[in-house]
C-alpha cells in the first residue's frame, strides 16, 4: 500500500510540474489557442503548401514557445545564492562573490532556451541580410538592366507602405510600430523582420506571420485588384522582347547599385549591400562554390533559424491581442495598396509609351519574387493565351526588392533614432 501511495504521489508530482497542467492554470488557455493556431499554420504549410519553406518553421517555433514550461525562449539569468545554500559543485563552478553587504554569495548562472540564442541572429539584424545574400545569388537582374524603367514600378509599389503608416498611426500605434506594420506592404519577409527587429521587436511575431501569410496569398489577393484596375485591351498588350544584357553589364550592376544606394541612404546598406554581394558572386562567375553555398546551404540554414525563432516570438500574451487583428488588417491594406499603385503606374506607363507596356507587370513591383511576376504572367495569359509577360514582370519584381529595401532604409533612418 505504501508503495502504491508513493507511486501515486510521484505521478501527481510529475503532473503538477508538467506543461499539461500549465494549460489549465491562469492564462494557460491562451497557450492552448496559440497551439491551435500553430497547428492550423502547419496545416496551411503542409496541406495547402502556402510558403511551406517559411511557414513550417514559423508555425513550429510558435508551437514550441507556447507549450507551457518548454523554456525554449527563456532568457539566461543569474541567481545570487547564499554560500550556505549553494552546493559544492556550484561553488566550484561559479566561484564566490563578496557583496557590498559583506555576505559571501555564489552567482549561479542559468542558461537561456535554445531558441533564445538562435533569436539573437534576428535581434541583432544578422539573419535578414544573410537571406538577402541568398536572394541576390539566386536573382537575375537582367530584365531590370534591359528595361530600367521597371525601377519606377518597383518604387510605385512601395507607396502602399507609407499610406499604411498613416493608417497605423490613426489607429493609435506608436510611430515605430506603425513603421514596422507598414513595411508588410513591401511583401518582403526578411525586410519586414529586419525593420521590426530594429523598431518594434515585441511585435515581430504578428508582423512576420502577417507578412509571410500575405506573400503566400499573392495569387489570391493580387488578381482581383489587377483585373479591377485594367481594361481587357490593356491586359492583352504583348510587350516587345527585351534586349540581351552582356555579362559585363550584369557584373557592374550590383556594384553601381550598392554605391548609389549606400551613399544616398546608408541605413539601407546592410540589406541592399548583401543583396548585391550575392548577385555579384553569381554574375562574376569566379566564386561559383560560394555562390552555390549562398543559394543553397546558407539560405536553407538561415531560413530554418529565422523561421523558427520568429515563430517563437509569437507568445500568447503578445499574439492574442486586438492589436494583432489590427496588424493583420493593416498588413492586408498595405499589400493591396502596393499592388494597386504598381498597376496604376503601369497604366501610366501604358499611356506614356503609346500602349507598349502591359500595366499588369506593375503589380510585380511588390517584391515577393518570383510569385508576383508569375501572377502577372498568369493574369496576362487569361486575356491573351499567347502572351508571355514573365520576363517583363521580373524587372519590376526585382526592382521591388531594391525598392522595399530602400523604403526600409527610409523608415529606419527616420524612426530608428
Amino acid at each position: 500500500m505504501e508503495i502504491l501511495n508513493s507511486i501515486w504521489a510521484s505521478i501527481v508530482s510529475i503532473l503538477g510540474e508538467s506543461g499539461l497542467l500549465g494549460l489549465f492554470q491562469g492564462e494557460g488557455w491562451k497557450n492552448a489557442i496559440m497551439i491551435g493556431i500553430a497547428c492550423f499554420l502547419l496545416y496551411l504549410a503542409i496541406g495547402r503548401q502556402f510558403e511551406p519553406l517559411l511557414l513550417l518553421p514559423i508555425a513550429f517555433g510558435m508551437l514550441l514557445v507556447n507549450l507551457p514550461l518548454s523554456g525554449v525562449m527563456d532568457v539566461p539569468t543569474t541567481e545570487l545564492k547564499a554560500l550556505a545554500d549553494a552546493s559544492a559543485t556550484e561553488i566550484a563552478k561559479y566561484g564566490q562573490v563578496i557583496m557590498p553587504d559583506g555576505q559571501t554569495y555564489v552567482e549561479v548562472a542559468h542558461s537561456g532556451g535554445l531558441l533564445y540564442y538562435l533569436y539573437l541572429g534576428v535581434k541583432l539584424g544578422i539573419y535578414p541580410p544573410l537571406i538577402f545574400l541568398g536572394i541576390g545569388a539566386m536573382s537575375d537582374f537582367g530584365p531590370l538592366i534591359a528595361n530600367p524603367k521597371s525601377f519606377i514600378l518597383g518604387a510605385a509599389a512601395q507607396i502602399g507602405i507609407f499610406f499604411t503608416f498613416c493608417g497605423a498611426i490613426l489607429l493609435g500605434f506608436s510611430a515605430k510600430v506603425a513603421g514596422s506594420i507598414a513595411i508588410i506592404g513591401g511583401a518582403d519577409g526578411p525586410t519586414a523582420i529586419y525593420v521590426t527587429s530594429k523598431l518594434a521587436a515585441d511585435y515581430l511575431g504578428p508582423i512576420a506571420v502577417a507578412a509571410y501569410s500575405y506573400m503566400a496569398l499573392v495569387p489570391i489577393i493580387q488578381p482581383p485588384i489587377m483585373r479591377l484596375l485594367t481594361t481587357k485591351k490593356e491586359r492583352s498588350v504583348v510587350m516587345t522582347q527585351l534586349r540581351t544584357v552582356s555579362k559585363t553589364e550584369k557584373i557592374m550592376f550590383p556594384i553601381i547599385v550598392t554605391i548609389v544606394v549606400a551613399l544616398l541612404l546608408p541605413s539601407a546598406a546592410p540589406l541592399v549591400g548583401m543583396l548585391m554581394l550575392g548577385n555579384l558572386m553569381r554574375e562574376s562567375g569566379v566564386v561559383k562554390r560560394i555562390s552555390d553555398a549562398a543559394q543553397n546551404e546558407l539560405m536553407n540554414i538561415v531560413t530554418i533559424f529565422l523561421g523558427t525563432t520568429v515563430g517563437a516570438t509569437a507568445r500568447a500574451e503578445v499574439f492574442l491581442t486586438a492589436e494583432t487583428l489590427m496588424i493583420v488588417g493593416l498588413g492586408l491594406a498595405a499589400f493591396c495598396l502596393g499592388t494597386a499603385f504598381g498597376v496604376i503606374f503601369g497604366k501610366l506607363m501604358y499611356i506614356f509609351t503609346g500602349g507598349k507596356v502591359n500595366p499588369l507587370i506593375g503589380s510585380a513591383g511588390v517584391s515577393a519574387v518570383p510569385m508576383a511576376a508569375r501572377v502577372s504572367q498568369k493574369v496576362g495569359q487569361e486575356t491573351n493565351p499567347s502572351n508571355y509577360l514573365l520576363m517583363h514582370a521580373l524587372g519590376p519584381n526585382v526592382a521591388g526588392v531594391i525598392g522595399s529595401a530602400v523604403a526600409a532604409g527610409v523608415l529606419l533612418a527616420v524612426l530608428g533614432k
Binding site: P148, F151, T248, E249, I256, I402, V414, K417
Partner: protein
Amino acid sequence: MLTSVLPTGLLPVTGTELFKDKGMLMAVITCSGILIVFMILLLLIIIFYAYGGIFRTVTASKDKKLAAKKAAEEAEKAKNAPAPQAVEPAAPADDGTIPGEIIAVIAAAVAAMSDGRKYAVKKVSRSHNQTGGRTRWAALGIYENTRPF
C-alpha cells in the same frame, strides 16, 4: 535625417518632438518617404539608361570592327583559293531564302531523332503563321525558359 530635410525654425528641432504631432508625423514620413524612394530609383533609372547606352555603343562598334575584319579575311581567302571545280548541285531543299546553316541544323535535328533510319530533308519552307507576334521557335524558347517559374 528627418531634421535635415525640414526647414529650421518652421518645425520642431528633433524627431522625438516632431512625433508628438501625429498629423505632421504622417505628412512628413509619407511625403519624404515616397520622395526618397522615387528619387533613388529614378537616379538608378538614369544611371542604367546611360550605362546601357554606353554598352550598346561599345558593343556595336566592336561588332562592326569584327565584321569588317571577317569580311577582309574572307576576301583574302577567296582571292587565294583555287578555282572551284564543277560539282553536280544537290536538289535545293528550299526556295533560297533560308540560310544553309539553318537547313543543316534542321537536317541534324531530324537525324538525331531518327532512331538510326535514314531520312533526307526534301523541303524546308518558312511558316508565316506566328504566335502572338513571335515565331513558333521564339515562343518555344520563351516557354522553355519560363517553365520553371
